[in-house]
């Protein structure tokens, strides 16, 4: 019962703030609603027993990425509202129809693609029984089975960092 109350409360906040992010006119307000949305998603992760992911979500998303967005919103002069100029060829309704099509696909998948719930597969093969904590488990997996993807992700971040510097620099 408590789990249901927590889930529905968190879900209501997550979806409500997501709608606000998308609909608010002021971009700064939109970024702030995005922070709140990320915080509630982190709370949902805690509910699911993924404490490490919750901490990462708060540190990386709410602390890092959103600050980056705020920087850009402040750097970009929005005195001229972004939404004033309208392309005469723009099909505004089309976006909603395409979204409805995606929603229909998701509904079809959930209605027709039902599979029997899988039984819990338990811990990963080869993981020592002494590793019990959430952070320990994720760390063990990252440094054993998923070591190469982990290194590739670090390369990706390095490339993205250099790319962002090159793009944002006025002249090299």
């Amino acid at each position: 019962m408590g789990e249901a109350i927590a889930f529905y409360t968190l879900a209501a906040f997550i979806l409500g703030f997501a709608v606000l992010v998308v609909t608010t006119k002021d971009t700064v307000h939109s970024v702030l609603f995005l922070v709140l949305d990320f915080l509630f998603v982190a709370a949902l992760y805690v509910m699911l027993g993924a404490q490490f992911l919750a901490a990462i979500q708060i540190l990386v998303y709410a602390g890092g990425i959103v600050v980056l967005y705020l920087f850009v919103v402040m750097l970009v002069n929005l005195k001229r509202p972004a939404e004033v100029h309208v392309d005469p060829n723009r099909r505004g309704q089309m976006g909603f129809w395409l979204s409805a099509a995606v929603l229909g696909e998701l509904a079809l998948i959930s209605a027709w693609g039902y599979v029997a719930p899988a039984p819990p597969v338990g811990s990963v093969v080869g993981m020592p029984a002494s590793i019990t904590g959430n952070t320990e488990q994720v760390g063990w997996l990252l440094y054993t089975s998923y070591l190469i993807p982990f290194e590739i992700a670090s390369m990706l971040l390095l490339v993205a960092m250099i790319g962002a510097i090159v793009l944002a620099k006025r002249e090299l």
């Binding site: 992010v21 998308v22 995005l34 979500q57 920087f71 100029h85 979204s99 338990g122 997996l141």
Partner: protein, 100 residues
């Protein structure tokens, strides 16, 4: 009782809100934020199934998704800044330099 279906429905709803944002807004910063919402919807799915299967592999993939989201935000916002410097706009309707 909260089943994975509930989490999938929440994730699908969040995903849809993100898709509507990407397809209907004209401010490119808001579009990027909608993409972040979509990636968060994916993460909710991964972690819900990770909890359901009692297996931490889903959380590992969620870490990778977060890493890719960080890279995407850095490069994307760099592109926005570079474009704004040239054209003084963040409206995607005016971003038609490479339109055929």
């Amino acid at each position: 009782m909260i089943t994975p279906t509930h989490y999938m429905l929440l994730s699908a709803a969040l995903f849809m809100i993100g898709v509507v944002g990407v397809l209907t807004r004209r401010n490119i910063i808001i579009i990027f934020m909608s993409i972040e919402l979509i990636l968060n919807a994916v993460n909710i799915n991964l972690i819900a199934f990770s909890a359901q299967l009692q297996n931490a592999i889903g959380q590992v993939f969620a870490v990778f998704v977060i890493a890719v989201a960080a890279a995407e935000a850095a490069v994307g916002l760099g592109i926005i800044l570079a474009f704004y410097r040239n054209k003084e706009t963040v409206n995607i309707d005016e971003m038609n330099l490479m339109r055929w």
